[in-house]
């Protein structure tokens, strides 16, 4: 493991990631709601929201309009891959979006903070969410 790189430990129990779309699976809908975080290893499209953290795995793909009430770790694709780009993909994140070296975004990202890593591909626009646009969200214990 290269020591100069940033490492992320994904502990589903600690991070409350209780939902998963497995690799090869595809979920689509107009009113999807995930209570708790989501590990996205397959494909997710349509509209919806995630009440927790969202981890888009390198095999994962997110298309459509989604609101995330937590941090987003983008290791896969946002807005589809090259042959099926969706210009209307919008991700609204009430936290920090981390775009890893394998992450590709062709959609619009709106977030409080953005952190990109060397090699990350950001082809769509980014907008900073102001704090007055943020919603009261997760009840922290």
């Amino acid at each position: 493991m290269d020591a100069s790189q940033d490492t992320l430990v994904i502990d589903p129990v600690k991070l409350n990631i209780v939902n998963r779309v497995a690799a090869g699976s595809s979920v689509s809908g107009e009113q999807l709601h995930f209570k708790g975080g989501l590990l996205l290893q397959g494909s997710l499209s349509g509209r919806g929201e995630v009440a927790g953290r969202l981890v888009v795995w390198p095999t994962g793909q997110l298309i459509g309009k989604y609101k995330v009430f937590g941090d987003v770790y983008l290791l896969g694709h946002l807005g589809g891959v090259t042959d099926e780009l969706d210009p209307h993909t919008t991700l609204e994140c009430h936290g920090t979006v981390y775009v890893s070296s394998t992450g590709v975004s062709t959609g619009t990202i709106m977030a409080h903070r953005l952190r990109m890593y060397d090699g990350a591909t950001l082809q769509g626009p980014f907008r900073t969410l102001r704090s007055n646009q943020s919603l009261p969200v997760l009840n922290r214990p």
Partner: protein, 109 residues
């Protein structure tokens, strides 16, 4: 709109999370471009707040029962974390030694 979190202490939830979502995974995000591409000349303003965060995470991981769980969800450089943990331990020992020396010197026996 207020949303409640699922109760992470419920054993059934923990069981299903561990068996359906999976065990703890470690992924590399890549080099942090904004932090490591510092110019050799000129003034670098420290606006990234990366160092205090790293010190905080290092302190948490030193005090936590499970260090891996303490850094979950916080992307960090393992090398930097190791250095800061070492610095904190050495600093703590030196401070403790200084306190002991001062106490033995000034204690009215």
């Amino acid at each position: 709109m207020i949303m409640k979190r699922m109760d992470p202490t419920d054993p059934l939830d923990i069981y299903f999370t561990e068996h359906v979502v999976g065990p703890t995974a470690v992924v590399q995000l890549g080099r942090s471009a904004t932090v490591r591409r510092q110019p050799k000349r000129g003034v670098m303003l420290d606006m990234l707040k990366d160092k205090p965060m790293l010190v905080g995470v290092a302190a948490q991981s030193l005090l936590a029962k499970d260090p891996a769980r303490a850094i979950a969800g916080k992307p960090v450089s393992l090398q930097g974390l190791r250095n800061w943990r070492r610095t904190l331990v050495v600093g703590g020992l030196l401070t403790w030694s200084a306190v002991l020396v001062a106490a033995t010197r000034w204690w009215p026996f």
